[in-house]
Amino acid sequence: MSARAITCVQGTGLPLRGHDIDTDRIIPARYLRAVTFEGLERHVFEDDRRGWAGAGAHPFDRDEWRGAAVLVVNANFGCGSSREHAPQALQRRGLQAIVGESFSEIFFGNALALGLPCASIGPADATWLQQLLEDAPDTQVVLDLETMTVSAAGRVVPASMPASARDALVSGAWDATGLLLARGEEVDAVAARLPYVSDW
């Protein structure tokens, strides 16, 4: 299976401030009671959005950021539970990339497997970009995976992600299943060498 090459994401941005935003907040556990991912986007940040200073005040409820392609976060985004429902819900809402200071590893891997790139930028760059989007919500944000940069309003800042993940995205190999299925006999050979698989 070859996937679509993802070299560049461009669109408006959605600033979401806060460190350590965990996946229980992104999608509360009660919405995991389902056998498909359909409709999850309706419940993104549901409890935060209800509790946020007044209805409609949460960044995900604000008109000026509707239709954004790039979510801009701070540190340790997506920590906690391994639920893929979190990146699924964000992607189903129309987000095509996330940039921010840092990401939890499991979240990063889950997002990668969906073709949703998570790129790290410096902490000051993340707050700059959030401020920019708060002041000028129409600003176009560009994540370029070939030059590994994020640009907006004429400024370009460096971005990073593990080289293998970047390569997988730009070469369209981010859906790993096909690759993992390819060499069946090599998998069998490794299994046969492991004493616990071959019953000691």
Binding site: D24, R33, V35, G51, E105, A176, L181, V187, V197
Partner: protein, 473 residues
């Protein structure tokens, strides 16, 4: 060249280097549960793929099960749909399922070890972040998402980035009333909730070596709360003694052959580490979280921090957490009133946890204002506890004695906090909304500390309770 356990296990399971630079890693044991698997099985069905190694794949049900009245169909139609999907998927793909009619059912991270499925030197995957628990046996165990569950079902492999290894050495004896839970909460407080990103944590030192397998599992379980996807302890005599005689452990001569292989997988003396941290056990107190992530904790004799005392980048987080919790900066954590006492979860629901909690309860009753819940991690734990009469201690004290499941660790089943309730909980996450009420509040602590808080109706220093002769000896 001396090597770490991580390196040895990684090498032994490497199929090849993928063009992206990631490693294709063979997964020796795949554990499946009802929440993260239905979409993965659907993907296989759509593409006509079989499960590649059904004999290395095992399923159970834990997150959604009601821990009281689990008669089918479940009252919750969505939970029933998930249960039915898992039953159908396991039947269709030939995966053994320990469901509600099986005496082996329980939380996936409790039953894997208890059945002897979890063994040293293995790679393990499960669609659940607390898969790190299994590292207590010297396995390398990854929590994964649903797309990766699909990959493992279809290919028995994962595409993985290499990990660095940080050795965390804990030395010395733990004081009375201080447990593995306190050790891991202290590690997270020190290294931070994202300190472990990119690392496997190797737990070592005399304190860790002195822990039972239950204690080691508690520590490895919460590696993920420190940002480390993988945590492990090198296998030793404690590990082998635990495994001997378990249903899926090798027996007879095979057991001896297994022990020599298991031993050979432990980190070598002089192995290179990317980082090393040393902690003194004697300095540790019982620890209680006060905020909205597991790194926001204080020793039980401590006071809540003020935002102004925090590093600049943390100030807003501390202020927000205090506001959410409704707590005042500078207030002592001891004396915080609680509404609910929850003893359970894959972190602390094993027999030794229940024994310690029951010892603290002794013949006392829990406070009238407290709803107490004891939820064994598996049916086997429940049976063993009942054989010792622990359930009678809990029931006489006013606790409810439930069936095995995840229960109030997360809001996916009928056990939930209501409104602003404060829960003293032996689980692993105090995230906003985690225990099922969007505004509910969670204080994480050891199960013995939960028992003491249940009796007192407020957070108390277990050491003082024990010193005053509280609890049965």
């Amino acid at each position: 060249m001396p090597q770490t356990l991580l390196q040895k296990v990684w090498d032994a399971h490497t199929v090849r280097r993928l063009p992206s630079g990631q490693t294709q890693l063979f997964i020796g044991l795949h554990l499946v549960h009802e929440v993260t698997s239905p979409q993965a099985f659907d993907a296989l069905r759509q593409r006509g793929w079989p499960v590649r190694f059904p004999r290395r794949t095992f399923a159970t049900v834990d997150h959604i099960v009601p821990t009281r009245d689990a008669a089918r169909p479940f009252a919750d139609v969505m939970a029933e749909a998930m249960m039915t999907a898992l039953e159908r998927n396991c039947r269709e793909f030939g995966v053994p399922l320990w469901g509600l009619s099986d005496q082996r059912q329980g939380i996936v991270h409790v039953i894997g070890p208890e059945l002897g499925l979890t063994q040293p030197g293995m790679t393990i995957a499960c669609g659940d972040s607390h898969t790190s628990t299994h590292g207590a046996f010297g396995s390398v165990a990854f929590g994964i998402g649903t797309s990766q569950v699909r990959d493992v079902l279809a290919s028995q492999c994962l595409a993985m980035e290499p990990l660095k290894v940080r050795r965390i050495r804990v030395e010395g004896d733990l004081a009375e009333g201080v447990y593995a839970k306190d050790v891991v909460l202290a590690i997270i407080a020190r290294l931070g909730v994202k300190g472990g990103v990119g690392y496997a944590y190797e737990y070592a030192g005399s304190t860790i070596e002195g822990l039972s397998m239950d204690g080691r599992m508690t520590i490895c379980n919460m590696s993920i709360e420190g940002g480390a996807r993988v945590g492990y302890v090198n296998p030793d005599a404690t590990t082998f003694d635990y495994l001997r005689g378990r249903p899926f452990a090798p027996s007879g001569d095979a057991f001896d052959r297994a022990v020599s292989w298991w031993r050979s997988m432990a980190s070598d003396p002089g192995a290179p580490y990317d980082d090393e941290v040393v902690m003194e056990a004697a300095a540790l107190e019982p620890i209680v979280t006060w905020g909205v992530h597991p790194g926001q904790s204080v020793p039980v004799s401590g006071r809540l921090p003020a935002p102004s005392e925090a590093p600049p980048e943390e100030r807003q987080n501390v202020a927000d957490a205090l506001a959410f919790m409704g707590f005042d900066a500078g207030a002592p954590i001891a004396g915080t009133p609680i509404d609910v006492a929850f003893i359970g979860s894959c972190t602390n629901s094993r027999l030794s946890d229940l024994r310690e909690a029951a010892r603290v309860v002794g013949g006392q009753r829990i406070a009238r204002s407290v709803k107490g819940l004891v939820v064994p991690g598996s049916r086997a734990v429940r049976r063993a506890a009942e054989a010792e009469g622990l359930h009678e201690v809990f029931l006489a004290a006013g606790f409810e004695w439930r069936d095995a499941g995840c229960s109030m660790c997360l809001g996916m089943n009928p056990d939930r906090l209501e409104g602003r309730q404060i829960s003293a909980s032996s689980s692993n996450r105090n995230f906003k909304g985690r225990q099922g009420s969007p505004t509910g509040r969670t204080l994480l602590m050891s199960p013995a500390m939960v028992a003491a808080a249940a009796v007192a109706g407020e957070v108390v220093d277990l050491r003082q309770v024990l010193r005053a002769g509280g609890g049965a000896r």
